[in-house]
């Protein structure tokens, strides 16, 4: 219960921070859209029409009220409801992030279990690489040298992302590989500690198959820290979609966020950024709940 309350408080704080950050953007949407062609008086009128002249606290409360009643407002640029824009873009990003997680989790587990200094260097190096470099390198290999997949994923508008799976290969791999390296590196120490415990050694000596040992004895003890690392990874995956979607020309939420920041489309920026924060908080909450349950069981 306390964990849930803390999560709600975190989301509220994040909403204040997101709202304040967008209010700090120099030149609002009205100024960007008019491109300096209108004078000060007209600008003031346009601002009043868009509700941008009211005090920031009142605007925040309006916005929060709108969010809670399911109305996050409309885009300042296209006039379309934010919910519709987000709904249209979300499938691409969800498929990318979920696909990356499905790939990264077993890979991270394998990296965390493998001993040896070479793997130690590999996970540190893999986690340090900027996603752009990983993406460019993969594109050079898979679509340049081996011609396996198309280099840029120009998905026809309105088609669901899973209708052309070959377009997903590069972005999903670009997101998954650094995440697996990071998570694997974070968990190597924990896994080594657990594996060295007497009951695991006994199980191995009894001739239990390695997979069974991993699932029955190592897994439950590593689950808490692993979920925590997973929650942090999910956050960086969500942030990574901005770069990956821009790089490979996919129109998902990350690309929407970048375009909206450029156009000062504040209502869109706020909702997308808050969604990203909610994903992180939800992940941490889930990790907390599992950790407390594990402790209670023991």
């Amino acid at each position: 219960m306390g964990a849930l309350l803390r999560a709600v408080a975190l989301v509220l704080v994040a909403s204040v921070a997101v709202f304040a950050a967008t209010a700090l953007l120099p030149a609002d949407a009205v100024a960007v859209r008019s491109g300096g062609r209108v004078d000060g008086e007209q600008l003031a009128q346009l601002r009043a029409a868009a509700g941008l002249d009211r005090p920031i606290v009142a605007r925040y409360l309006d916005w929060l009220g709108g969010l809670l009643t399911g109305d996050p407002g409309s885009s300042l640029v296209s006039g379309r409801p934010v919910a519709e824009l987000v709904g249209q873009r979300a499938p691409v990003s969800v498929v990318l992030v979920v696909g990356a997680l499905v790939l990264a989790v077993p890979l991270a587990a394998a990296l965390a279990r493998t001993r040896g200094p070479a793997v130690g260097v590999l996970v540190v190096a893999g986690a340090a690489l900027p996603p752009v470099v990983v993406g460019v390198g993969l594109a050079a290999l898979l679509s340049g040298a081996w011609q396996l997949v198309p280099p840029v994923s120009l998905l026809p508008a309105g088609r669901p992302p899973w209708s052309r799976p070959e377009l997903l290969v590069l972005p999903v791999l670009t997101l998954a590989l650094p995440t697996a390296a990071y998570a694997g590196g974070q968990l190597r120490g924990t896994v080594a500690d657990v594996v060295a415990r007497p009951f695991v050694r006994d199980a191995v000596l009894r001739g239990m198959p390695p997979t069974a040992v991993a699932l029955r004895y190592v897994g439950p003890l590593v689950a808490g820290p692993a979920l925590r690392v997973l929650a942090v990874s999910a956050g960086s995956l969500v942030a990574g979609t901005t770069v990956v979607e821009t790089l490979f020309g996919m129109s998902g939420l990350g690309e929407l966020l970048v375009a909206a920041v450029r156009a000062r489309d504040v209502p869109v920026v706020q909702v997308v950024a808050l969604l990203a924060a909610v994903v992180v908080v939800a992940g941490l909450l889930f990790a907390d709940l599992v950790a407390t349950r594990n402790e209670r069981d023991r």
Binding site: P130, V132, V133, V136, V243
Partner: protein, 259 residues
């Protein structure tokens, strides 16, 4: 070769490129000398970029500002985090746990949004500094606060306190030097974060303004011509790989207390 020698050689290469590259390349990085994305040839070892400029010259020039920005960002983030962390770990004030909690809150915010807003509001390198401080300092604070709390009850610190040394002297001459390896590793990790942020912002169009050469911007500029001259993309990608991997591996070894 031992791993240590590989690391040293890579570091030397990196430092040489960053320091002497701009001098060697001169103004060749800005001149158009060939058709766009010409493949490598005898005159142009790495071919030409989107505007027909020498890719090798641009790779030699494109690291200095990036390395400076990353170093400055990391130094600021580690200094801010370490200063607040020492205070939070040492002080018995009630404000200390509040500060730690506030720092944890910062970690929930989508870092890239913070960096994007900073990039719109501030000129290029400062957005990276702000992003690195907001995303990195809270982690430094937590690590340093823990280390300071533990150091408090060690013999050498208790002896210094018992001698009547002023608190500032105890912190600067006893507590912090004992954690020099920790701080060095932290500096490395923040440098990697700063390079990653700078690269992400450059891809999103908030990098250094053209025509300046920059490894991350080169990726964005030359990706469309990858089929014509792959070296225009792969060379800056290799340079960024060298930079981040060398710093990250060195930081890890420092953190483990190995040189």
């Amino acid at each position: 070769m031992k791993p240590r020698h590989v690391l040293l050689a890579a570091t030397a290469l990196l430092v040489a490129v960053v320091l002497t590259g701009p001098v060697l390349a001169g103004d060749a990085a800005l001149r158009t000398v060939a058709p766009p994305w010409s493949p490598p040839g005898p005159d142009l070892p790495l071919g030409a970029d989107a505007l027909g400029r020498d890719v090798l010259a641009r790779v030699l020039t494109g690291g200095r500002e990036l390395a400076l920005t990353a170093g400055l960002s990391a130094l600021t983030a580690t200094t801010v985090g370490a200063a607040l962390g020492v205070w939070a770990g040492w002080s018995r004030s009630r404000a200390a746990p509040v500060l730690t909690a506030a720092a944890d809150l910062l970690l929930v915010l989508p870092l890239l949004l913070v960096a994007l807003v900073a990039a719109v509001a501030l000129p290029g390198p400062w957005a990276v500094v702000v992003g690195t401080v907001l995303g990195g300092s809270p982690l430094t604070l937590r690590v340093v606060a823990d280390a300071t709390r533990n150091a408090r009850y060690t013999g050498y610190v208790e002896a210094a306190v018992g001698r009547g040394e002023p608190t500032a002297t105890v912190l600067l001459r006893e507590v912090l030097p004992a954690h020099a390896g920790l701080l060095g590793a932290d500096l490395g990790v923040r440098t990697v974060l700063a390079v990653q942020l700078a690269a992400a912002l450059a891809v999103l169009g908030y990098g250094p303004a053209p025509p300046a050469a920059d490894w991350a911007v080169m990726l964005r500029e030359n990706l469309p011509g990858m089929a014509l001259n792959p070296a225009a993309v792969l060379a800056p990608a290799a340079a960024l790989t060298l930079l981040t991997v060398v710093v990250a591996v060195a930081a890890q070894r420092l953190g483990q207390g190995r040189r």
